[in-house]
Subunit: 299 residues, 2 copies
């Protein structure tokens, strides 16, 4: 067992990882938070079960707000916190196992929901069609995986500043999906050459609008102007009761812009934008493919 | 005087420069072509005046089509070609001077028109307003220069792949203009925080739609969605009689994308997009500020 100092250090590192991660999608990061919590349940030097439960709850509450643009992180840690009730009255060893098992179960539900979303999204894409997307979504990657052999063509954006698009094209290349890799500024040109636009989502707001990597809103505008459908894919635990007015759009380190500091110039790195529900054809959740107004029931 | 081999080499280098230049705007590049032609007039080892006129015309015809997305290059070299008629019957030395003077006069007209456009564009911007733009336009930079001291705020995009936006923010920093520098993907977020959008234009098509750096169309879509006006600034010699169906959008080297070559993946670098006239509030030329339908008379 760790010392309390080591445990607090582990907690600090876990929280840092959740705050600073830039490559995982919201669901992946939420599941990573559950793994971090399970590790903490395993190693925290608790004196008794209430001590363990309190330590886990305190950590989970920190993680829950680490990424305000990602409802999945909040909702999955909330589910984990709900599991902590089961620890009450259990011996310490059993309580640890319940907490670890609870984290695993929530992660498993999330994985299942993600697979179901991918399956339903694949059903939207016909043989030979061209799909344009923005940023990296593990759900969407799974969708492409299930479509191999169906002659689907992909258009993938660079997704500056960190260029997650490069990761996606490498995966698509392995899957032998014919892919055009474009700069974010070419989205308008290539939306007009595509049959449909599909993106992942970091959160879905109360009115059905979607929070996702900056540039998603531009793709939605271009899709509407080109007359092609625009779908957002996400598990229902990414839904939130908040409206756009209550969403804090995270602004990340401007170092990512690789631009010089200059007098009078502010480098800006707003990571997410909000695509209004009126631009969204349908939201794909594990419960089905529904227009944003009808898909917003919280789980 | 050069040898004919040296002259042909000079011509080849001049054409290469026109084809491969990525940092100059259309007017600047068109004026650079005129300088290249004047240098050629100065150094071409002509046997007589008809020989000089023919050499200049041949070279000008090459330069004229070097950049199909830039009407200014075609129109200004056309004006230079028209000047070559004046050489007829002149002694060789006088013919050289006429050609050099003709190139300078056309460049001067272009400079004057650009200054007039900047002056009219400045009139569209009120004290304290926020102006969002895309890519680098010398006309727009001159506009900002004339606005110093009027507390105007600028939003400047990176403009990938070559990041001309960095050049613009450096100039704005020198002018002490308060500027937000953003990635191209943040255009939707920041258009909603701006009072107006203004861009330069590489060409204006017959129906009033505008050819400009890829991403301009996305800014126009975002401006319309945000309810702010979208202006394109350009001298009237950037107007063309062509329609969108006849425009070849230049695709540049994919090396600029700094992305790996992968099986099944095509890197794409379409440099320009077309912003339809319906998204444009007005086009600013040296003749005035007019809706695209009324501004399209060729000079």
């Amino acid at each position: 067992m760790m010392t309390i100092t080591e445990a607090l250090d582990q907690r600090r590192r876990g929280l840092d990882e959740a705050v600073s991660d830039r490559t995982r999608g919201a669901s992946q990061l939420a599941r990573r938070c559950l793994t971090i919590l399970a590790d903490y349940a395993r190693s925290y030097p608790a004196t008794d079960t209430p001590d363990l439960a309190e330590a886990l709850q305190t950590f989970a509450l920190d993680l829950r707000t680490a990424r305000p643009s990602m409802a999945a992180v909040r909702n999955l840690t909330d589910r984990f916190i709900a599991c902590l009730k089961e620890l009450h009255g259990q011996p310490l060893m059993a309580a640890r196992q319940l907490a670890i098992g609870g984290a695993a179960a929530v992660a498993q539900q999330s994985l299942w929901a993600g697979q179901e979303v991918s399956r339903l999204a694949a059903g939207l894409i016909d043989e030979g069609q061209t799909v344009i997307t923005h940023s990296l979504s593990s759900t969407l990657l799974a969708t492409f995986r299930s479509l191999t052999g169906r002659a689907v063509h992909a258009v993938v954006t660079e997704s500056c500043p960190l260029r997650e698009g490069l990761i996606l094209v490498q995966e698509l290349s392995r899957l032998a999906v014919a892919t055009d890799y474009i700069t974010d500024a070419q989205v308008g040109i290539f939306a007009a050459r595509s049959d449909l636009a599909i993106v992942g989502a970091d959160s879905v707001l109360a009115d059905g609008s979607v929070v996702n990597k900056a540039g998603t809103y531009l793709l939605a505008l271009a899709a509407r102007d080109a007359g092609i459908p625009f779908y957002a894919c996400c598990e229902s635990f990414k839904f939130t009761e908040f409206g756009a007015e209550n969403v804090m759009l995270e602004e990340m380190s401007v170092d990512e812009l690789r631009a010089p500091e200059l007098p009078h110039v502010r480098l800006r790195n707003v990571y997410f934008d909000i695509t209004p529900a009126r631009l969204i054809t349908a939201i794909v959740t594990e419960k089905g493919v529904r227009p944003p107004g009808n898909a917003t029931a919280c789980p």
